[in-house]
Symmetry: C2
Subunit: 102 residues, 2 copies
Amino acid sequence: MVEVKNELATYAQALCHPVRIAIVELLLSQQCCYHGDLTDHIPLAKSTLSQHLKVLKEAGLIKGEINPPKTRYCIDDKVWQKAAKMFYHFFEVLPPTPVNCK
Amino acid sequence: MVEVKNELATYAQALCHPVRIAIVELLLSQQCCYHGDLTDHIPLAKSTLSQHLKVLKEAGLIKGEINPPKTRYCIDDKVWQKAAKMFYHFFEVLPPTPVNCK
DNA sequence: TTAATTGTTCGTAAATTTGCGAACAAAATG
DNA sequence: CATTTTGTTCGCAAATTTACGAACAATTAA
């Protein structure tokens, strides 16, 4: 890291691992928040899953209300929309390549 | 990596480093393709920049025509649009949280 | 109260990422 | 032809990431 951490890079970083994508997709597929055992869906040690959840939490994309035996993980709407906007904008800025572009 | 590499994760991976974001933004800001010395814009060793470019190239997001003393780096429109669509879709699927969501 | 359930934190090992300089390649220029 | 320019590749070291099991909370259930 050679400079100030880019916010977009932070979100990308949170989403750059297949397991974290899977976790987020699972949360997205829920009517409301997810509660239950994530290891039912993703075959990893719970400590490993906990670590991935931590990454997503620290990026702000999800929030969890954890009253130890019971847990609830949700996408954080607000941050999610913000990240969405940043990605939208990032990908939008590409103008069509001019035909005379060499 | 515990499973088949997720394509979205691959793009996120390519974009998860501030320097790579900076490189892509530089390329996006060009009328056409970029040619010149990237170290003018990003204060890193050229070998390091070369590595970051390699990551972006392997993800397919950029392409470079390198005839050694001269170089041209471009966003790869096709892959870019594909990645854009994947991110759009990924972020779009979030329905508004129901008010009765507990 | 004791056991069961569920999740986090800690320590550790293996793999990957990041960054650098040195060495190397390949074309342009003197 | 030698030098300059520009970029890649090759070690190498430091930092980070990933994954695991063990130990540790904290609440629920027996």
